[in-house]
Symmetry: C2
Subunit: 396 residues, 2 copies
């Protein structure tokens, strides 16, 4: 049979990047292309203890159907926690537990956007979110990144040129892939611009809790007196990603539409994972766990940065992120970035070519993304050495 | 701010049924409206044992990111199991692990259907699937049910009248809500009709493993030599629904598009649940567990049917399903069905009005759905008694 697919998926074509990405998790490769949290950061003993406890004492709670909005005690606790700790959430807001933060992007787009609508994104930005928008047939308009976040003049121009823009998508903390943190001033200006132009903001903050340097900055959602920000959080980077538990905090009118969409998508998020998050936050020292994770990531990041200084310093520029999992490397203009990535791949080092993160994968970029949380220390050492050897060949 | 929502959700309006459905899981109500598997059927001890084992011996496997297609050993085992036991799956097919069977409906629609396309459904049919189709802006065309399944003359007419039909959605075994099982003859004819007209079939089989009477019948997918059937299965009714693990078996071209959509929806299904299913199927006596579950459901169903005979027999007709979780009751034409359901609600018995399952909720129906798996035996007794007392008032 000749299958006829929906417009939304038939436009997705194989690309040069995808051919490279195939190898990013292949065995035998040094996983600089990965985006996995460090397994050392998973509180495995506590998770095991909580889970045994739940499955012994109240197994049905973890196994029966639950409600779409999420496990009520987790929703209540998170609401209070985010309000108290981060000043996130007003009376007009509600919380929705999602199957990872990825589902927040998916549901927000489902609820708000018709095909052909525009979403303004940081350029480059997280490929998973961009694909969620593309899969709902959104037109992506990119705003260049500067050292302190989006170029706001360019953002203003994009807003004027795209009146059908539904929301601005941003990762203010240690952005994936660029590692850039948006300044407080730009956060405030971005909020003001969105408000003046009647556009929503989708603020994605997967890494906020693993800041390894610099000063904490308030989230854009914490300014939200007007009900224009959808905030996406997740337990993937602070507890474990395999449990697939994230959440959205947004005005209740928006959440109620997202609930309708979630009901038709997966009924509810797996309840075992939700119980786990709730018990972990309420019965254990959650703040101590976060601090411990920050120490793990700080050490890994610094280790890789030292190695990069040693092997590619002065030849390939790279960010020194204040958190997150990634370092963004930029080659001199004389080097063909895709050729460079392919040469690394030949030496069994997988990195992500920068155009995986641009609005169109044909966009020109000299950058590539590397990750410090997944590789072992030995892999970090060997991979950075190979980076240096490859630079020897490409950069005269 | 005045929010502007996507067309797909802004058309969803509050309805009379929804007002009743609000009460279906309210505390203090007898839950005849529920659709939960019986907690007695959950193998809690084994699940606890498996989970403890995994979290003690290989916690990272259960906690780290995994691949979108699903846990490879589960995919392999299920592929062999479904082929060997049910003759489901050919060389051109692939399996995709989903976050419950609900996600199969969501992803199949995302992959195959543009807004305005037609999906032909049994009328009545499962509200969760209908809403998944509606949320992707599909036009639903209903085919009336007869005692042995869809009216195939009407189906043929619907196919002719709707050339933009992408697939026919069917639940052949103990259909939700009607309890009807499609005859072997109709299964074969339905397959032939779909093939002749170049239309796919989405076969949803959540209850196949809990047959409590009659003869096993081959699935429509087992006839599929042509790559035209998408089969949806789930562990929700045989293991536990809270874990959110289901699966699709379909031609690889279709699965590959569904994978793209799933990647943007929730990255992957929670991996703990997938490991659980795999260990349960491979290290324990899965067939004995299914047999035990069938005994539990047979007993519950027979108990409710006896009570219905006693309290409403001869006045309200009802199905005697060969499996599943539901009994479909039909009132005489003289009775206003919604008034009857409201009267039951006043007496704290929640049932689902039949028009929750019709193509439009304004469609006329005399039926309502009741469930025998969720209520306790005491609730079954009391609820059926109240059904009888209400019939005394409405049916002279």
């Amino acid at each position: 049979m000749n299958y006829s697919f929906a417009q939304r998926v038939s436009s997705l074509k194989p690309s040069a990047i995808r051919e490279i990405l195939k190898f990013t998790s292949a065995p035998g490769y040094i996983p600089f292309a990965a985006g996995n949290p460090s397994p050392e950061a998973f509180p495995t003993t506590i998770i095991s203890e909580i889970s045994n406890n739940i499955l012994t004492n109240r197994p049905i709670d973890a196994l029966q159907y639950s409600i779409t909005e999420g496990y009520a005690p987790l929703r209540d606790h998170l609401t209070n926690y985010m309000k108290t700790k981060h000043d996130i959430g007003r009376d007009f807001d509600q919380i929705l537990i999602c199957s990872g933060a990825q589902q927040v992007m998916n549901l927000a787009t489902m609820a708000l956007c018709d095909p052909g609508d525009v979403i303004i994104c940081e350029n480059p930005s997280f490929i998973g979110s961009l694909n969620a928008f593309r899969c709902m047939e959104q037109k992506l308009v990119g705003v260049d990144m500067e050292e302190d976040g989006m170029n706001l003049e360019m953002l203003e121009k994009c807003i004027k040129e795209n009146p059908s823009c539904k929301f601005i998508y941003t990762i203010p903390n240690f952005q994936n892939p660029s590692g850039i943190t948006m300044s407080l001033e730009k956060r405030k200006k971005l909020y003001r611009l969105a408000k003046e132009n009647n556009i929503l903001i989708l603020e994605d903050n997967p890494y906020g809790d693993i800041r390894i340097g610099g000063e904490n900055l308030p989230s854009i959602k914490s300014f939200d007196q007007d009900g224009i920000v959808i905030y996406a959080g997740t337990f993937s980077k602070v507890l474990a990603p395999g449990i697939r538990v994230g959440y959205a905090i947004a005005p209740r009118q928006i959440i109620s539409k997202m609930v309708v969409c979630k009901q038709t998508s997966d009924v509810h998020t797996n309840i075992w994972g939700q119980l786990l998050c709730h018990e972990f936050m309420t019965k254990y020292d959650y703040e101590a766990h976060l601090e411990n994770n920050r120490n793990i990531y700080r050490e890994k990041a610094n280790h890789m940065l030292d190695l990069l200084d040693k092997y590619i310093g002065g030849r390939i520029s790279f960010t020194r992120p204040e958190g997150g999992l990634f370092i963004w490397c930029t080659l001199p203009d004389s080097v063909d970035m895709l050729d460079f990535c392919k040469a690394l791949l030949d030496k069994k080092v997988a990195v992500v070519p920068g155009n995986a993160f641009t609005m169109k994968d044909t966009d020109k970029t000299q950058s590539f993304r590397i990750n410090f949380s997944t590789p072992t220390n030995e892999q970090l050492e060997l991979g950075c050495k190979i980076l240096g050897e490859t630079a020897d060949i490409f950069i005269k």
